[in-house]
């Protein structure tokens, strides 16, 4: 494994794709899934899903573990926390939080 040492670029690039964000959301709901399970929820070839998972792995957002014959994929939230600490809390956390709350309230009441 190539260490993505302090490389926010890899995290931002990995997050800049709807399919990869979708994969992270699926793992957030239920962790430790196989490629076959993840593939079944996407209208995409196995090879395509593998490519996206590789980008997420290189960014450190997904960690894999072998269990018997299966390779399980786990969401690693730490890089997102580090990007958050570096790029969000520093600049605008209070304002962003207020706006995010407002958006959620408006959308829920709509």
């Amino acid at each position: 494994m190539v260490p993505p040492v302090d490389d926010d670029d890899l995290v931002f690039k990995a997050l800049a794709d709807p399919t990869r964000r979708h994969l992270l959301d699926r793992l957030y709901e239920r962790d430790g899934r196989t490629l076959t399970e993840l593939e079944s929820e996407l209208a995409m070839t196995r090879f395509g899903v593998m490519k996206h998972l590789r980008v997420l792995e290189d960014a450190g957002l997904v960690v894999t573990r072998r269990e018997g014959r299966e390779k399980l994929h786990f969401l690693n939230p730490v890089p997102i926390r580090l990007v958050h600490d570096r790029w969000i809390s520093k600049y605008a956390e209070h304002r962003v939080a207020a706006l995010a709350d407002l958006k959620q309230e408006l959308e829920e009441s709509a």
Binding site: M1, P3, P4, V5, D6, Y28, E29, R30, D31, G32, G60, V63, R65, F74, L75, N76, P77, V78, P79, R81, L82, D85, S89
Partner: protein, 148 residues
Amino acid sequence: MSTMTAQATQVYQVFIKASPEQIWEAITRPEWTARYFHGARISVTPEHYLSLGPDDARWGDAEVFEFDPPRRLVHGWDSLYDPELAAEPTSRVTWEIEPQDGGYSLLTVTHDRLEQSPKTAASVSGTGWTMVVSGLKTLLETGEPLTA
């Protein structure tokens, strides 16, 4: 975090610009853990894992299954800081430290055997372990505890 179902196995991983020996020291000695582990003073010996809160309350008191400095530490986990969580079965925490190029180490924390401990699983997930692991990185790389 409302939609999160508690995971029975949770994995947290981070690169830290520190040697395996420094990381080992930081996860096994109370003067280090107090600065990034929610204030807990944690002492780990080959026989015993003990975590004390600021008021000397026992936050964790568990068996050490593997003690292989500076690469691998496996210990039991009981959340004694909360009676509801403490009533659940003991789960397991594994720390793996692998040296990397450029003075970095890869730290992987796996909290598993949480199948019968859903409340503990929910409590340590999300910001729980994430804050500990990112706080440890910040402390070792900058010498400053994480301010949040």
